[in-house]
Point group: C2
Chain length 319, copies 2
């Protein structure tokens, strides 16, 4: 492993919003500043970071704002909302890291790329939307929104519904050439925010946004592969990946190879909405990488440098 | 003048929204697509474009959505709103141009940079906010928002008030190194959307957003200077700059030098909210440029190639 690594750092929701908070802008900036401290520790060690992030709570709140104001002002479609949130969150994450680096004596300025990610409308995800977005609806609201907006919903609790959108596989990061050039030039960048803005290609029209959400861990893995990085880090709330989670024989895992990870995936060890995409992203990256030392790390956001050093977290390698 | 020029194209409001329209997303994409046709004509001629744009109607609508939903979900401050709108509009402008280039056989992908622009809190603009943002308020609303949010307002008509924010001078484009690298690498980019997100530097905290609006024409001129472009084009709704506008002796001007432009500015020939910043931006750029052939063009959006060729528009040169 080189001393100075190129690393994709995929920030989970807890990097920006804490579950017990309202999640307002002041709180988001404070959390981002704490996250920036972790990232700056890695930069101080000489590593070159490409930062990606989720947008779960933020896009939900954005769509809620949209919905509440819909009678007064035209709404923004899902994919246009994702683009807006990429701008807003990218600004925040880039600024807080720029400031943290500044406090440590560096004049580097972190940049944000608006990133679109190609998906295939033939992806089975479009026939079976699974990703919940926005607020909880009652039965009448769910029916009314289906009628009016074509929203598909799923019952998430007794009498409680949420809009669900497809979560298709990311195929191609459209801006990859420019992103690669920025990284090769030494820029610290934020890209693929919220998993990227999903776009499909229509033979006559060209590219167009689609109402979907791309999993940010899978998009991050694709970015890591495209940039041929040394390491991808999925920063989250837990110290290590566990098998038999919450059972008497729960076991925290500090290392697994791709075959083992895939077997556990098939066994259903990793829930679809949380650890599953991280493990899948890790497998995708280490198997596609041309670097024998390539690895994925899933570890706690608050101990990024320790996770990179193998003192905490779960490391996934090809073999 | 080189055959293949590096050009900053500053898009005015009419590039995205028409005055007679609601300005919804479908209309914005349609207008952007038409604008993309004009831009692609320039690209087809071999010119290298750096695109900037205003955000007037969009930021107003965004803030209105914010305001209507304020009781339900936390609002986004002005500067965070600008960042969001940069993402949303950049996505749209980049996508429609990418598509137009694709229809013409090119595989180039246009990129959007989230751009922050440094301003000085000692700028006199902060003591005298002049830039109206958001909807028209009645007297009670104006008073309530001053009370609650600290909004300064100005009476824009009998009993009609609008929030006003400072419009400080842009001092430094923070992401300029990355933008320059992208341009030198051959990327077509969108930058400085809405004039850029205004940020100030606090000695202890670092950079932070401020509730202000930077004039997009002045920001575009700064970008043009920093990138040492050949030409800056301010695309707008009129064929040429006029002096004695709407008077019997109105005269359309096809060329002026910086001294003449400044004299007319001092005479009050150019209204502050529309032609004034374009003329000021033109003066700033041609006077700062090291290129003897540097020029600014103010011309009609629908005839971009003609304006570049001198068949329409007003050309401003240093001498």
């Amino acid at each position: 492993m080189p001393d100075k690594q190129l690393i994709v750092v995929a920030l989970g929701g807890n990097a920006i919003s804490q579950p017990h908070q309202e999640g307002n802008v002041k709180e988001q900036f404070e959390n981002s500043a704490a996250t920036a401290g972790q990232l700056a520790d890695l930069v101080d060690q000489g590593h070159h970071l490409v930062i990606t992030h989720g947008n779960g709570p933020q896009i939900g709140n954005f769509l809620l704002r949209n919905e509440v104001a819909a009678g007064v002002i035209y709404p923004l479609p899902m994919e246009v909302a994702v683009a807006h949130v990429q701008g807003g969150m990218g600004f925040m994450i880039a600024q807080t890291l720029t400031n943290e680096l500044g406090r440590r004596g560096s004049s580097r300025v972190v940049n944000t790329f608006i990133t679109t990610v190609l998906v295939d409308l033939a992806d089975p995800a479009f026939r079976d939307p699974t990703k919940p977005v926005g607020r909880v609806l009652n039965k009448e609201e769910a029916a009314a929104n289906y009628e009016k907006e074509g929203w598909q919903t799923k019952e998430v609790g007794p009498g409680e519904f949420r809009r669900v959108v497809p979560s298709p596989v990311p195929i191609n990061i459209m801006e990859i050439d420019a992103i690669r050039r920025a990284v090769e030039g030494g820029d610290l960048i934020v890209a693929c925010g919220g998993g990227g803005i999903p776009v499909a290609r229509d033979p006559s029209y060209g590219l167009h946004g689609v109402a979907a959400v791309i999993d940010k861990d899978l998009a991050s893995a694709l970015l890591a592969t495209d940039l041929d990085v040394d390491t991808i880090m999925f920063m989250t709330g837990v110290d290590r990946v566990a098998v038999n989670f919450n059972k008497p024989d729960q076991r925290d895992v500090d290392h697994m190879n791709a075959d083992q990870a895939r077997r556990w995936m098939v066994e259903g060890q990793f829930p679809r909405g949380s650890m599953g995409p991280k493990i899948q992203g890790a497998i995708n990256f280490v198997e596609a990488s041309r670097k024998p030392h390539a690895r994925a790390i899933i570890g706690p956001l608050g101990r990024a440098a320790d996770a990179l050093a193998g003192k905490t977290g779960t490391c996934i390698t090809k073999s």
